[in-house]
Amino acid sequence: MNGRGTPTEERACYVYGIVPTGVDPSGLEGIGDPPARVGLVPHRGLAALVSAVVVNGPLGTAADLRAHARVLDTLVAHGPVLPMRFGGVVRDLGAVVDELLAPHEDAFLRALEDLRGTAQFTLRGAYEEEHVLRQVLADREDIARLHTDVAALPQEATYYERVRLGEMIALEIAARREADTLEALERLAPLAVAVKASPSADAPADRAVSASFLVGKGDWDAFGTAAEGLARRWAGRVGLRLLGPLAPYDFAGDAVEARRTEGAGRPWG
């Protein structure tokens, strides 16, 4: 990254996120091939994490996506981070200060304070296919009956029946997803400062649960243990994966919004 004020025509400024000043980004590899060096654009108590990006090439290779997440997730272990959504590019370093940091300085600073000492943990569960299908057939007589009917006929003769059968199975699994998500939240939410469950509507077919938790550093171990307990309880039925500590992707928006709105307090209790 060149010094400020000297962007060349084809280069611009990719923004990863916002941190308080004092963060050391040296050694972090950014987007691009070869990976760009990540630098800071400071403004009073804030700094934007940026790297140079070529404007006339598209963004978003697998390596780019991973780099964006890696930069933010590495830094959250050391202090609060406001992660930007992937793909934010600004004309030059001056504009990062004048249009991003300076006008929203107060909201960003206060949101960072609200997030200090926390990180996001994201829990993802996927049903074991064979197990869940057998359960559905065992518990739903109507589905088992339609399934027997469909199986008795040649495949070409049962297109609509097969669609209907699959739809009924998908709906039954969706009902199980709701119940399982509820159970996961009951067990883990008490250890979190804030919780966000992904909407069930756009869940992949095999999803049992997807929820993000903002957890204070002192509770990270306890949270991991509780998630482990849930995984043991669901063993053989749901494969459970815990990501984190991550940058607060699911919570930064609310944190800043709450501070931009006059008179609003912290977005969570």
């Binding site: 600004v90 049903y127 399934h147 043991r232 990501l243 940058a247």
Partner: protein, 142 residues
């Protein structure tokens, strides 16, 4: 990393997020820069913006129906349900259980490959879930 990551048979705690998880986290979430920056925002082409899978689709339903049928074949020709369930507990049936749900996961990788390999594709077409035959795509560079 300061978190004690105890070894576990049950809970998967990857040390770095997989690509599918990364996509979920950073394409839809986080601060949207457009809210703050109007004048100097650079519109840059994003390969990944529509790399999503639609799951509530006829394709998915048919895959469920096929998967449930495969369960039957296995029961009839090999052994009864209790033995199969035992097998599953021991992980013995793992290789046999690749089916509908795996197909859904696979499509994410295919979307990404396609996004990497074919920059000209229309977003509308990228939202389709993949059928089981892999579309041809260029070899990955590097």
């Amino acid at each position: 990393m300061t978190v004690a990551q105890r070894p576990s048979h049950y809970l998967d705690r990857p040390s770095s997020s997989g690509l599918v998880d990364v996509i979920d986290l950073i394409l839809d979430k986080g601060l949207v820069i457009d809210i703050y920056i109007r004048v100097s925002l650079v519109g840059i082409e994003l390969l990944t913006i529509d790399a999503r899978i639609v799951v509530a689709s006829v394709d998915t339903y048919l895959r469920f129906a096929e998967a449930v049928n495969r369960l039957d074949l296995r029961e009839d020709k090999t052994k009864g349900l209790p033995e199969l369930v035992d097998d599953m507990r021991q992980g013995g049936a793992r290789s046999k259980t690749r089916g509908a749900l795996e197909g859904v996961k696979e499509s994410v990788g295919e979307v990404i490959d396609r996004v990497k390999g074919d920059k000209e594709e229309e977003p509308e077409r990228q939202e389709r879930p993949r059928s089981r035959s892999r579309p041809p795509h260029k070899e990955r560079e590097s």
